[in-house]
Amino acid sequence: MRHRLAVALLVASACGTDSGGSQALVDLDADGYARDVHPILEARCATLDCHGVGDRPLRLYAETGLRARDELRDQPIAPEELAADVRAIEAIDPGALPGDSLFIAKPSGGVFHEGGILWVSRGDPQLVCVLAWLSGTSDAEACAVAADQVELPPPP
């Protein structure tokens, strides 16, 4: 039994990511979210068939996904929507360290995620960019690469 527990702990630690910082997920930077993180989440997470659903625990707004109000459809993302996204991320696993939070563990394979594993490698620029933001810093180089990867075509 003790042996099984040790194996389980080893497996769990192998699946985890670097905690990415020592601050819990509170008071996240809204400007950094809008600039660096929101484009990643819009392309990878926030469609109307995933986290762009109003009753999801992690509900995300996006120009191409869920809008906070009908009148916002076809409009650029609104500050109120970006602020609500940040609050939703802060609330998903309050008190967790960035790399340990469900917000990172699920899309990177540490915890089962219905939407699959989005970031296989710990060096994935999208993951590095998001983790830097969660940790209260910024990784301009990773975020620039990520932005190129997730850029959506302009509206018609």
């Binding site: 809008r67 459809r73 075509p153 018609p156």
Partner: protein, 173 residues
């Protein structure tokens, strides 16, 4: 007093429970006790509500299905529009809509009706989708991550906070 509290609690709980497939089916059918059947029926509705893996009173399970319109506000679907779906493995699937504007994709063969495409294996999400007809073309700006029914995100009733409106090929002038 206790009975009243329990009743209030039950009412509150009932308000939290989502719509069942049966309720969605009944709502979509309206008052029609004998809804039309076949591949041209119910254009614009959420096909997988009745043709999904988990619930298929229609007796036909689709992986993907939807309705294409010439313009966003049209009441009738567009025949012979091409729906091009590119899956995450790069495989391209092309389907032509039937006279109601409907198309559907399912596993296997043996259903040689208009608007249907049989596939040997399910397209791998996420999907990129383009629709075209008469020289006009629209490509979704974002991908489809998991939903097989277009109408789940593209309500024919129009655009809203939860809908990008109907699937169309031409911009409305």
């Amino acid at each position: 007093m206790a009975r009243g509290s329990i009743l209030a609690l039950l009412l509150l709980c009932a308000g939290c429970i989502g719509t069942t497939p049966e309720e969605e089916l009944a709502a979509a059918q309206g008052d029609d006790p004998n809804p039309p059947e076949g591949p041209t029926h119910r254009p614009g509705q959420r096909c997988l509500a009745c043709h999904g893996e988990d619930y298929d009173p229609g007796g036909e399970v689709f992986l993907l299905a939807g309705t294409v319109y010439r313009r966003a506000g049209d009441a009738l679907g567009l025949a012979s529009a091409e729906v091009e779906i590119t899956d995450d493995d790069g495989e391209i699937f092309r389907i032509s809509t039937n006279r109601a504007g409907n198309f559907m994709v399912s596993l296997g063969g043996g259903r040689p009706y208009e608007g249907w495409l049989g596939v040997a294996s399910a397209p791998v999400f996420p999907l990129q989708v383009t629709v075209r007809a008469g020289g006009a073309e629209q490509t979704m700006r974002n991908v489809v991550h998991r939903e097989g029914a277009c109408a789940a995100c593209h309500d024919r009733a129009g655009k809203s906070a939860t809908s990008n409106g109907a699937v169309y090929v031409e911009e409305t002038p």
